[in-house]
């Protein structure tokens, strides 16, 4: 008999040859025994609940055409007061200073956020296999940091370290660290597991495995994530300025409170231009890296 005839035939097996099977159980099948009547009743009940919730919210907050119409005088005053925007040299100088301060807050916030958030991400990522108690502690800490909104962090820091950009940097750093810890740990967990196991099977320690196999694979996506966080920091630093945490937001707040609407217009234009420019730069850089970080986030 020739060798060809007794050559083994590949038998299709689910997944990779004898590799570890998926740990998660198969999704439960929907219960098909439920009758059509019950299903229809459930759907109707769900619709009633949704409609009730929306009505309750609309009535409770008093939104609607009427309230907008009542505010028409104020809106007219505000918009009318904005024209023409104040383009005096003095104001443009201070606007430029505010823009630069916002950029500084966002970059400093990114720096400290990454410094704190990326090590946390390494501890949290399941494939790094950090000690379980440390991973849980890191996850809890990161959740806490991002659950408190930047605005609240800013209020806390303004009341402790005082008005100014430093408070903004602390506020943004903490929130960014919490976000980065979560999102970066997801990027780390998404790397191809085969090279990670290969490195682990050489007898490498957990740290060595993380540094040599996990981080290099996630590097582009992590860089992209940092750029995206920078975009978010810019927007946040504009908002937290209202409570006195520096930057263009603080200048906006002052102009609004003092009814200087022409200044307000100039500042708004500057803010929009800055955010658009940073978005474009960040997006171009991220695209050039070929990274695949989704731009929709804050999923938790």
């Amino acid at each position: 008999m020739s060798q060809d005839q007794i050559r083994p035939v590949e038998v299709p097996v689910p997944g990779r040859c004898a590799g570890p099977p998926p740990l998660k159980p198969a999704a439960e099948q929907p219960d098909r025994s439920t009758s059509g009547y019950v299903r229809r009743f459930r759907r109707l009940a769900l619709l009633v609940v949704i409609a009730g919730a929306v009505t309750w919210a609309l009535l409770g907050t008093g939104v609607g055409i009427a309230s907008l119409y009542e505010g028409r005088a104020g809106a007219g005053r505000l918009i009318g007061g904005m024209f023409p925007p104040n383009l005096s040299a003095d104001l443009l100088n201070s606007v430029a200073a505010a823009v630069f301060e916002t950029l500084q807050i966002s970059i400093a916030g990114l720096f400290f956020g990454a410094l704190l958030g990326l090590p946390l991400a390494l501890l949290i990522a399941g494939n790094v296999r950090g000690p379980a108690w440390l991973a849980s502690a890191a996850r809890l800490f990161a959740t806490f940091m991002r659950s408190v909104p930047e605005l609240l962090w800013a209020l806390l820091f303004v009341s402790t370290v005082g008005l100014g950009p430093a408070a903004g940097v602390y506020a943004i750093s903490l929130h960014a660290a919490g976000m980065l810890a979560k999102l970066a740990s997801e990027q780390l967990e998404a790397v191809d597991p085969a090279p990670v196991e290969a490195v682990r099977l050489t007898g490498a320690t957990r740290t060595a495995t993380a540094v040599l196999a996990i981080v290099p694979q996630a590097r582009n996506n992590l860089a992209s994530l940092l750029l995206y966080q920078w975009e978010c920091n810019i927007r946040s630093s504009a908002v937290i300025g209202f409570v006195g945490a520096g930057g263009i937001g603080q200048a906006l707040g002052v102009s609004l409170h003092l009814f200087r609407y022409q200044e307000l217009a100039t500042l708004l234009i500057a803010l929009v231009l800055m955010v658009m420019t940073v978005d474009r730069i960040s997006r171009a850089l991220r695209r050039s890296m070929g990274a695949s970080v989704a731009t929709s986030r804050k999923a938790d």
Partner: protein, 246 residues
């Protein structure tokens, strides 16, 4: 290194059949063995069990006197002396070929070595052995290339160099010829067989590859059904056809 497997049973969750069903195997130091069997016969699981990558239900695996199924420390001691080449390409993309090739030596790196590696270079003391090994396997001109720019055959050779650089006492190769053309496959097997003094265990579904080994262990459904030198073609037919193995 002597490899001893005793009554090894491995079952993965949610699989009805055992991946390994009472395997007994002894491989003497320096011996060269081919594991032969179809996909799903347990070859890969057995190789993975030898370095503690799968957790058995029962049974023991001892390699060079250290119990792989015992403490983590003993397991690590075995891994440090074992070179592994896997079926699937498992090099780290985004890194240079040379960085991939030296990964097996990471446990010996000091702070200076780490600095050199993180800056994309090879630790000084490994430069010469790496170049020598890469030259022997015809991949020296590609050491500075990024992994994603190498062909399948070139990657396989980098994986081979990675496995050989720490000077392992045990070499495990899972389907080392899969995805390679016949000439490259032949070269890969020869490279494994010419490592001095190493115990070599190679899994394959290819009788042509198995025939190049003095001892063949055939697996079916997680059991050893044949152990010894592979007989002639006619005898193989007589041996396997009635049980429908191959």
């Amino acid at each position: 290194m002597r490899v001893e497997v005793r009554d090894l049973i491995v079952q993965f969750p949610q699989r009805p059949d055992r991946a390994l069903d009472g395997v007994d195997l002894t491989v003497e130091p320096g011996e060269q063995v081919a594991l032969l069997g179809v996909s799903g016969s347990g070859k890969t699981t057995l190789l993975r069990a030898l370095v503690g990558a799968v957790r058995p239900i029962t049974g023991t695996v001892t390699v060079g006197g250290a119990s792989v199924t015992g403490s983590r420390e003993e397991q690590r001691r075995v891994r440090l002396r074992t070179g592994i080449i896997r079926q699937r390409d498992d090099l780290v993309v985004g890194m240079r070929a040379q960085t991939n090739a030296i990964i097996g030596t990471a446990s010996t790196w000091g702070p200076v070595d780490w600095l050199q590696v993180l800056s994309g270079r090879v630790p000084t003391r490994y430069r010469e052995p790496l170049t020598a090994l890469a030259t022997r396997h015809g991949i020296d001109s590609h050491l500075r290339a990024r992994i994603e720019h190498l062909s399948g055959g070139q990657r396989q050779r980098i994986a081979l160099v990675r496995a050989l650089l720490p000077d392992p006492d045990l070499l495990l190769a899972d389907e080392p010829t899969s995805g390679l053309d016949p000439v490259a496959g032949r070269t890969a097997v020869t490279a494994l067989q010419t490592v001095p003094q190493a115990t070599v265990i190679v899994s394959t579904h290819d009788i042509g590859v198995a025939r190049r080994f003095p001892r063949v262990v055939a697996l079916r459904a997680g059991r050893v059904i044949f152990d010894g030198p592979l007989p002639d073609d006619d005898d193989i037919a007589a041996l396997y056809e009635p049980v429908g193995v191959l």
